[in-house]
Symmetry: C2
Subunit: 272 residues, 2 copies
C-alpha cells in the first residue's frame, strides 16, 4: 500500500489495550479506521464510547463479532439470537455500519444442520439489523475451525448463503487467513464483488509451521500468503473499503504495543 | 462395520512397533490388511520384508508415502523424483499395489506453482509406476497443510488433476480427516468413483479442539466426523477396498500398543 488512508486495525490485534488506548494510539499513529471487538466494550457506557470515537479522527469500520448460531440445544440457539440482537444494538449505538459474523458450529450435529441453523439465525436477526442500519458480514473461517467455530468454511459457501438470503444487508467478509489456500478464491471474490456482497477485507499472514490453532497468526510479511495479489482481486471486484488488520498472536501481544503498531504500519506499506 | 474383513492398519498408527511387530501383532489380532510406511523399511532387507509379509495372512494395501514434489529449487525437485522412483521400486518389491502421494507444497512459491510441479512430478514418475504395476493415489490434505505439506487440499482439486492426467494408474485417496468439512464431499466422492479413480479410503477422527497440527488425530468415535456416512458414500461410489486406519497420535503412541489395537478394533466395529 502507498499510504494509510485505508488502514483499519481490529482492537483485538492490540489485545493488551483498552478501547480508549486503541482510539488514542491509533489516532496518534495516523491510522484511519478501527474495528471494535466487543470485549473492549464490556463494562463500558456505550454512549461514552461513542463520544470517544466521535472525538477522534477514526472511522468505525465494523463491530466484531456476532454469530455462533448453531447448537443442538434450542435454548442456546435462542440465547445466540438475543446476543446477536445486542450486538446489532451496540453497532448501531457506536455508528458501526457492519457486524461481522463468526457463524459457529456445533460438533454434536452435522455440518449441514449447523449451516441450516446459521441461515435461520441470520434470517431471524435480519429485520432488526435492517431497522438499525447495520449490515451483516458472513466471514467464512478456515476449515480447521469447522468443528467448533464455523460451519461456513469457503467463500463459495458464504456466497451461496448470501445469494439465498438475498438482502443488501447480508454480505461476506473476506479474510486472507481463512481463504488463501482455496483454488477457487479469485472466482469467488469476483462473484461476491459482482453481487455487491463484498463487505469487508481482513489481512494478516499464515505462519509456515503454525504452532497454535488460534493465536499464532502472522503479521503481513511473516508468512506465505500473497496478500497484495488477493487485495488486487478484492479491488478488481469493486471493493473500495478498508484493509483491516486482524491478528491474534501471543507473540505480538507480548511485545510493546507501540513498537508493534509501528511494525504493523511498516508491514502494511510493504507487504499488503 | 460388521467384521474385520476390510480392516487395514497403517504401520504409523502403531508407531512404536517395527514392521515385524506390526505384521505379527496385526495377524494375531485378525487384521486383514496392512499399509506400510517407509520409515519401518529403513535399514531392512526388502526381500526379507517381502517374505515376512508373504508368510503372514496380511494383504499389503499400500506403501506410504511418496510425493513432496514441489520446490523452488530444481535440485530438490529432482531429488523428489528420485525418491518417488525408489518408493515405487519398494512398493513393487513388497507387492504393494498402491503408492500414496502426499503431494507437497513449497511456501516460497505460489500454490498454483506448487500444483503445477505436483502434476509434472506425477507425470515424470508415471511411466515407471506403470511398468512396475504400482498405482499412484493423490491424497488431498486438509487446508491447514497448504503451506508445507500439500497444495492439493480438496477432493475436487485431486479429481481435476487425475482427470487431466487421465491414466488408470493415477487416482485419489480419500481420508476423512482431511475432507470431512467439505460441503462438496459427497459429489466429489461420486465423481471419482464414477471415473474409477477412488483408490483408497482412510479413516480416523477429528478431535474437537485439536491441540496439535500433526499428531492429535482421534480414533474413530473420539471426534466429530460422521465416518459411517462418508464410508457409505465411498461404497455408493463403488469402492470395495479396505478401510485403512491411519492415526497420528502422541496420546495413543504412548499407551500399550496391544491395548490400543483392541481399541482400534472396537472403534472399527462401532464407529466406522
Amino acid at each position: 500500500m502507498k499510504d494509510f488512508s485505508r488502514l483499519c486495525i481490529h482492537t483485538m490485534t492490540n489485545k493488551p489495550w483498552s478501547l480508549r488506548q486503541c482510539v488514542e494510539n491509533y489516532s496518534n499513529a495516523g491510522i484511519k479506521g478501527i474495528s471494535i471487538w466487543r470485549n473492549v466494550l464490556e463494562g463500558r457506557d456505550l454512549k461514552e464510547a461513542k463520544k470517544l470515537l466521535d472525538d477522534s479522527p477514526l472511522e468505525v469500520v465494523s463491530l466484531v463479532r456476532g454469530g455462533f448460531f448453531p447448537s443442538v440445544e434450542k435454548k442456546r440457539r435462542l440465547n445466540a439470537i438475543e446476543d446477536n440482537l445486542r450486538a446489532i444494538s451496540q453497532a448501531s449505538i457506536l455508528g458501526a455500519p457492519l457486524l461481522v459474523l463468526v457463524c459457529g458450529s456445533d460438533s454434536n450435529q452435522s455440518l449441514d444442520k449447523s449451516r441450516e441453523q446459521i441461515r435461520e439465525g441470520i434470517l431471524k436477526i435480519l429485520p432488526y439489523a435492517m431497522s438499525a442500519g447495520v449490515k451483516l458480514a458472513i466471514e467464512p473461517l478456515h476449515p480447521m475451525y469447522s468443528a467448533d467455530r464455523s460451519a461456513v468454511n469457503t467463500l463459495a459457501q458464504a456466497n451461496k448463503m448470501t445469494e439465498e438470503i438475498n438482502s443488501e444487508f447480508v454480505g461476506v467478509a473476506v479474510d486472507v487467513y481463512h481463504l488463501w489456500w482455496d483454488a477457487g478464491l479469485h472466482d469467488d471474490i469476483m462473484r461476491c464483488g459482482q453481487n455487491r456482497k463484498l463487505f469487508a477485507f481482513h489481512v494478516c499472514d499464515w505462519n509456515v509451521l503454525t504452532g497454535d490453532f488460534l493465536n499464532d497468526r502472522g503479521l503481513m510479511g511473516d508468512g506465505c500468503i500473497n496478500i497484495p495479489e488477493i487485495r488486487s482481486w478484492v479491488e478488481e471486484a469493486g471493493f473500495k473499503g478498508f484493509n483491516e488488520v486482524e491478528i491474534f498472536s501471543e507473540k505480538y501481544w507480548k511485545i510493546d504495543q507501540f513498537e508493534y503498531l509501528e511494525k504493523i504500519k511498516n508491514a502494511y506499506i510493504n507487504f499488503t
